[in-house]
Amino acid sequence: MLMPTDTSDLYEKRKGVFPKAVDGFYRRLKWAIMVVTLGIYWVTPWIRWDRGPYAPDQAVLVDMANRRFYMFDIEIWPHEFYYVAGLLVMAGVGLFLVTSAVGRAWCGYACPQTVWTDLFQHVERFIDGDRNAQVRLAKARWTPSKLARRLAKWSVWLIIAFLTGGAWIFYFADAPTLQREFWSGTAAPVAYGTTALLTATTFVLGGFMREQVCIYMCPWPRIQTAMLDEKSLVVTYKDWRGEKRGSVKKAAAHPGEFGDCIDCDQCVAVCPTGIDIREGPQIGCITCALCIDACDKVMAQVGRPRGLIDYCTQDDADAEKQGAAPRPVLKTLLRPRTIAYLLVWSSIGAAMLFALGARTRLDIAAQQDRNPIFVTLSDGAVRNAYTIKIRNMETRPRPMTVRAEGLPGALLWTDAMAREQARATVDVTVPPDSVAKLRLYAAVPAAGPQRQDFRFVLTATDREGGTASEPARFERPQ
């Protein structure tokens, strides 16, 4: 096939979106959510949390180097990664729940792409002015004044982007220390790299890509489309009430001929993804509900009831079209599907909380040397060697003893002791929040079965106590 000379059909030119400022219930809700989510993002790493002298005092810390995850009173070790998996499952089911109940609320309110784009757009309005001024400026030739405005806007964006990318790294190291290191140039290269990368992505995605991310790059709109059903709340233009569109004047001149929509295009003007909601539900609609605010305001001005564009389910839309009353909102939200999601979500949460409360804080693992399996000693006794790992998850050093239960006559010693020091138990002090590894020898008189199963029993000898055991095997020559 020859290359077409006109590629205008093959590739879509970017249409500028210049959303107009709007005020109303949903706009204020979005403000509140933006303050809360950005607040959480920027403040969290700086919260201190006292865990005693042996653990970091940062409330939320993903300590990659030492393989620990701290979240307030919870400390996760790598082998407990299933808690993180559980959280991810909860997040997934939570999104199912939210989507089936209130549609793409994640997209419209909480998604970082939405929140940061929103923030960047406010900066844009502050510097360039509202929609009309922005359109004019975009069309204007490059004059010094336009350049100055652009540079000012990009600079503020860049500062926000830098603060965004810079804040991310504080989740992975002690924030005050890392901040000092960062400015003095002594932080790890990965800290600068991550900051630079996230600064760049925030700047580009929030400043320039914006709705293109939602429409072309993000898989979530497609997945959510599959999760919506006819009982999910979506932003709906009530065409049976709005059509046929016409100005107030026309409607006054021809009563009964026109609907409530006065075709003022305010819903289009405020839309951050540049769509027309009156064309029906579509992939570009992130359900930010700003068009509801815009339309309500116009309806109030022309003295018509609010809600020409409103949150509405497909079923309710059909019912309203027939003149029937919509179902109460609570009934829409609480239906078998959402209740099932809620049950799954909360039972995973409850199970994780239970597991967290009941988890052991010490553990022992034993691995027998396989090469050689046994060693005959000069006095005829047989020695087996084991690599013992003792896990102390408390943030204080703990004295413990190890003994071999079910192995009569066994004497234990470590590779740091002489065999003359061998006893029935071995004492070990395990440092706080760590795994102690020791090589343990067990010597038993030669007489006995070729294979003998027993257990290593670990007992904490401090006030709190506690015990753990591990099956092991002792082998002798034939």
Partner: protein, 312 residues
């Protein structure tokens, strides 16, 4: 395919159909965003730059090597060199510290054990086995029985000079006579001596032959193995009363040993390995469970308990 002159248009989106249809599902010819096209061009540019900079195109006998001169083999060599640079100070420190002093430095000791473990896998496993458990004629290095001594310095000396290494004056030497083959003892006398050794090692009950053998032992064997048959490390003469036999403790094996004698050889290593490697090997062998701590420093280290050994 759709008729190009009369394209079918999807009413809902105003987009042209591609013309494919599967069970009533049709594909729309939705235009890609133009910025996507730019990323495509950018990736082409990147590919051109990559081909210029890095090895890329296979030729008949060679390939284009790229202007940066990068190769995976070169990268490996760099990594190995970097690693060698990294461990060089540790090896220098080990080489500069006598093995007696080494025992007092847990960190250096740990490094030496791991270095020795690696070197052992290369140079020693052929005879002593991958687990250092030895075999017939090759001592088990895990146990507490040592022919020439099991403290750090003695093990190191054995490694440096070897045992019965031909043409090396400093090597450890001892020669057990072939009592039977060289007719130093008669066949019945050898049998009696074997019977005595079996009794001395508590494998057999006392017998008349062993009684006769005891006299023979005192006359012929005790000079090296000791009057109590517990051996003599200065001569590498094994302890005949313990439970460990290098060539086997059954009557037949002991008879073989007395009749023909045994002359096990271990090569010297000072002409093949660096002093640091030999020291690390000695430390590793010593750490296998039978190492003897006759030295003050080692005893002090042992008293530190396991805490020096704790690792995450």
């Amino acid at each position: 395919m759709a008729d190009d002159k009369n394209p079918k248009i999807d009413a809902a989106t105003g987009t042209q159909f591609k013309g494919h249809e599967w069970d009533g599902i049709q594909e729309l010819d939705t235009p890609l965003p133009r910025w996507w096209l730019w990323t495509f061009y950018a990736s082409i540019l990147f590919a051109i730059g990559y081909v210029i900079a890095y090895p890329a195109i296979p030729m008949l006998n060679d390939y284009t090597r790229g202007m940066l001169g990068w190769s995976s083999r070169g990268a490996l060599e760099q990594e190995l060199a970097a690693r060698a640079d990294q461990v060089a100070p540790i090896h220098q420190a080990i080489a500069a510290t006598t093995i007696e002093k080494l025992a007092g430095q847990p960190q250096l000791m740990q490094a030496a054990i791991e270095g020795g473990r690696a070197a052992f896998k290369v140079h020693c496993v052929q005879c002593h086995g991958s687990g250092a458990a030895g075999g017939k004629g090759y001592p088990n290095l895990n146990d507490d029985d040592w022919l020439w001594g099991g403290d750090l310095a003695t093990i190191e000396k054995t490694l440096i000079d070897g045992i019965r290494n031909p043409g090396h004056d400093a090597t450890r030497v001892s020669m057990m006579p072939a009592f039977g083959r060289d007719q130093l003892l008669t066949a019945p006398q050898v049998d009696d001596a074997v019977a005595y050794v079996r009794v001395a090692s508590r494998q057999d009950k006392p017998s008349a032959a062993a009684q006769r053998g005891a006299t023979l032992f005192a006359d012929n064997c005790a000079v090296c193995h000791g009057t109590d048959a517990k051996g003599n490390r200065a001569l590498g003469a094994p302890n005949l009363t313990d439970g460990i036999w290098l060539y086997g403790g059954d009557t037949e094996s002991i008879h073989q040993s007395v009749w023909n004698s045994r002359q096990g050889v271990m090569p010297r290593w000072d002409d093949k390995l660096s002093p640091a490697t030999i020291r690390m090997l000695a430390v590793y062998v010593h750490s296998l469970g039978g190492g003897e701590a006759t030295l003050v420093e080692a005893a002090a280290a042992a008293d530190n308990g396991v805490e020096g050994n704790v690792a995450q």
